[in-house]
């Protein structure tokens, strides 16, 4: 039972990060029908921005602000930085190709991904960056928390999962209860019709990239609070976020959240109960199974073609 509880905690933590990444993919796909393969690298940049701001604020060992404020500021800085990066990427890599054949923006996305990864490596080198969260308040984030049976749930895990859920709920409210969200949904449904209704498509698309990239930035910080970040993490994280989005139904926000959590559970429980060697394999098997039997994902709608 203790193992089950521990693995559930692991799964929720992992799944929350995947869900945030998946949301970025799904938002952009929903509005633009574009798979933004640079999204994983935006996540990586977010973790580096967070590291930089953390150092500016005194580092984990001697922060100049309280711990809770430090984490908030680091997260917001990463979100803001990534949002700005998302705007730049959209403006220069995707907007000129909006009316081109669909393969063109896809290739452009791959190019942006390589560009970001290699630029970061050139600027910051290959060495991992450790937030050293353990040193924050003398390990309080690791040592304090609450117990579920014999299993300790440390504060850091709680912060990660709660923060991710708050962001997801905020996004849901934004998309479903605001005018801007309505415009986003209209654009994703029918871009031309939305334009004819007076919706500024360019603004909607930019806003979508801002949102998606900001979520990736937040995911980057939440990830790096627990494990060292490096330039190389973008690819794997992006891939898993993409798989989560596909499982949940690409274009569906609840789907991305569910997909992320499903992926987190699949990975954690496979590692815990079956074998640590099989977890990545199982993740890709799940993807293949969904593609074969439910290609629209859990919450997506089937593609209906008129005959």
């Amino acid at each position: 039972m203790d193992t089950f509880i521990q693995l559930t905690v692991d799964a929720l933590t992992l799944g929350s990060v995947y869900a945030l990444i998946a949301l970025g993919y799904t938002l952009v796909y929903g509005v633009l029908k574009l798979l933004n393969f640079a999204h994983g690298d935006v996540f990586m940049v977010g973790s580096f921005i967070g590291f930089g701001v953390l150092q500016l604020l005194g580092g984990a060992a001697d922060p100049i602000v309280p711990v809770w404020l430090l984490i908030l500021l680091v997260t917001f800085a990463a979100m803001a930085g990534c949002a700005a990066l998302g705007v730049v990427i959209e403006r220069f890599a995707y907007r000129p190709l909006r009316d081109a054949p669909r393969i063109a923006p896809l290739i452009s996305a791959l190019g942006v991904s390589f560009f970001l990864a290699n630029s970061m490596q050139l600027l910051f080198g290959a060495a991992p960056r450790n937030y050293d969260t353990f040193s924050l308040s003398d390990g309080a984030l690791y040592l304090r928390g609450f117990d579920v049976g014999n299993v300790k749930v440390p504060l850091l895990r709680i912060v990660t999962v709660l923060a991710a859920f708050v962001l997801m709920i905020t996004l849901w409210v934004l998309v479903n209860r605001t005018r801007t969200g309505k415009a986003m949904r209209a654009t994703s449904f029918d871009r031309e019709a939305a334009a004819m209704m007076g919706i500024d498509i360019d603004r909607v698309i930019v806003f979508t990239f801002v949102l998606g990239s900001a979520l990736a930035g937040a995911a980057g910080v939440l990830f790096a609070l627990r494990v060292p970040t490096a330039v190389s993490i973008g690819f794997i994280a992006g891939l898993k976020g993409f798989i989560a989005a596909v499982i949940g139904g690409i274009g569906s926000i609840p789907g991305a959240m569910a997909g992320g959590l499903i992926l987190g559970f699949a990975e954690a429980f496979t590692q815990g109960y079956i074998s640590t060697r099989w977890s990545d394999l199982l993740v890709f098997v799940i993807l293949i199974v969904f593609m074969l039997f439910r290609p629209q994902g859990l919450f997506g709608t089937p593609d209906i073609k008129k005959v």
Binding site: T3, Q6, L7, D10, T13, L14, Q121, G125, A126, A127, P128, N130, T133, F134, G139, Y142, L143, V151, K152, P154, L156, R157, R226, V227, P228, A230, S232, I233, I236, E267, A268, Q271, G272, S275, T276, R277, S279, D280
Partner: protein, 394 residues
């Protein structure tokens, strides 16, 4: 149909010709004489980027320093050529770099490769090209000795540090005799270095009747939570032979996070006091702290002057030693050839004859007569103190 067969035959003939030409070119490159008066090249395949980039960059700084200071003393003009072999890219990167070095006619010897995986991937090619390759850090036993009927290195591969056949039992015996462990979890990362070392440790522990749990993660794992969950709550030690010290730090922190009592025991790959510094953990390495060796004072001072702001690590000094071995072998080859190397193989023939009286790691250096390993080399164990520094254990 006839056209298809004809085309297939043409492709086959072309491939055969190309392969033969390549083989001839390599054989020619291996056998061509090289003048010792001009600039000769030494290649260095090492991970300059990726999770083990810290190791490669440290080794490169010492290799550059060694070439700069030692080559003129031996009357040699040497150009050091780096080749990046990130551990995450596995054998592919090592093979690509090896091919580039082999094709360079001025290349007379190789320092490295640094990692066991890269040696396993490229040693056959280097040997076919007649290139001696002397590693300062590849420790997998089967690179120089036959293990389960298999030997991964060739007769042209040498190393200046002892292999896992020393590290494994040293670490395991320390756990058994000093730490008095009863249960140990052992990780590997599905690549030659960690699997070899984990096997060596597991063998010694099992012989001492210590209960072991084996875990295996892929080389690209970053979050070890689920692995930590599988560590038995009464395990004393987790043997963690990673090549990425940051991962050792993460694992040790996640052990504390989950309230497990086990301490992390890293191999030489995790030796980095900036990245792995959880107090109470252990690390083993093939080099002592040379800043405490009196006769290395001048070398250390010179290196620090050339690398301001940097501290002496444990991977650099053996690299200096490897360069010294290679340069002396080249010099011996030049002397034997009357001022030129008869071929690249002339260096291979001289490597084992190298004797160094004042070895940078202490004592003197020579190769074993039984293998291409150093004679009587040993591993050192360090415990991480409360301030994060590495303290040698008695």
């Amino acid at each position: 149909m006839k056209k298809a067969i004809g085309l297939a035959l043409a492709v086959l003939v072309a491939a055969t010709v190309a392969t033969t030409a390549e083989g001839s070119r390599r054989a020619a490159a291996a056998s061509a004489a090289i003048g010792c008066n001009g600039t000769m090249k030494i290649g260095f395949p090492t991970p300059l980027t990726g999770g083990a980039g810290f190791l490669g960059n440290e080794q490169m700084s010492w290799a550059k320093y060694a070439v700069k200071t030692l080559a003129p003393r031996l009357g040699l003009k040497i150009q050091l050529v780096p080749g990046d072999t990130p551990v995450e890219q596995g054998a592919g990167a090592a093979t690509t770099v090896a091919q580039k070095f082999i094709a360079d006619k001025k290349m007379v010897a190789i320092i490295g490769p640094s990692t066991s995986g890269a040696v396993a991937a490229s040693s056959t090619a280097f040997a076919a090209a007649g290139l001696a390759h002397v590693s300062p850090s590849a420790t997998r036993t089967s690179l120089t000795q036959t293990v389960d009927g298999k030997k991964e290195g060739t007769s042209s591969f040498f190393r200046v540090v002892p292999g896992d056949y020393v590290q494994g039992p040293t670490d395991a015996n320390y756990m058994v005799k000093t730490l008095k462990v009863s249960k140990v979890a052992i990780m590997d990362f599905q690549e030659p270095y960690s699997v070899g070392l984990a096997d060596a440790v597991e063998k010694t522990l099992k012989a001492a009747r210590v209960s072991t749990t084996r875990l295996s993660a892929s080389n690209t794992t970053t979050d070890y939570s689920a692995f930590v969950t599988r560590v038995p709550s009464d395990a004393d030690i987790v043997f963690f032979p990673t090549q990425k010290p940051g991962d050792a730090q993460t694992f040790a922190q996640q052990l504390i996070e989950q309230g497990k009592k086990a301490k992390v025991f890293g191999g030489d790959g995790s030796n980095n006091s900036e990245q792995f510094k959880v107090p109470g953990s252990y690390v083993s390495n093939f080099a002592p702290d040379i800043t405490k060796v009196p006769r290395d004072k001048a070398i250390v001072a010179g290196w620090k002057k050339a690398n301001p702001g940097k501290e002496v690590g444990s991977f650099g000094p053996p690299t200096y030693g490897a360069v010294e071995v290679v340069l002396r072998a080249i010099k011996l080859g030049c002397n034997a050839g009357g001022g030129k190397l008869a071929s690249r193989k002339a260096v291979v023939r001289q490597v084992k004859k190298v004797r160094i009286k004042n070895w940078i790691l202490g004592g003197s250096f020579r190769f074993s007569t039984k293998s291409n390993d150093p004679l009587n080399a040993k591993f050192y164990i360090f415990k991480i103190a409360s301030n994060g520094s590495y303290q040698p254990v008695p």
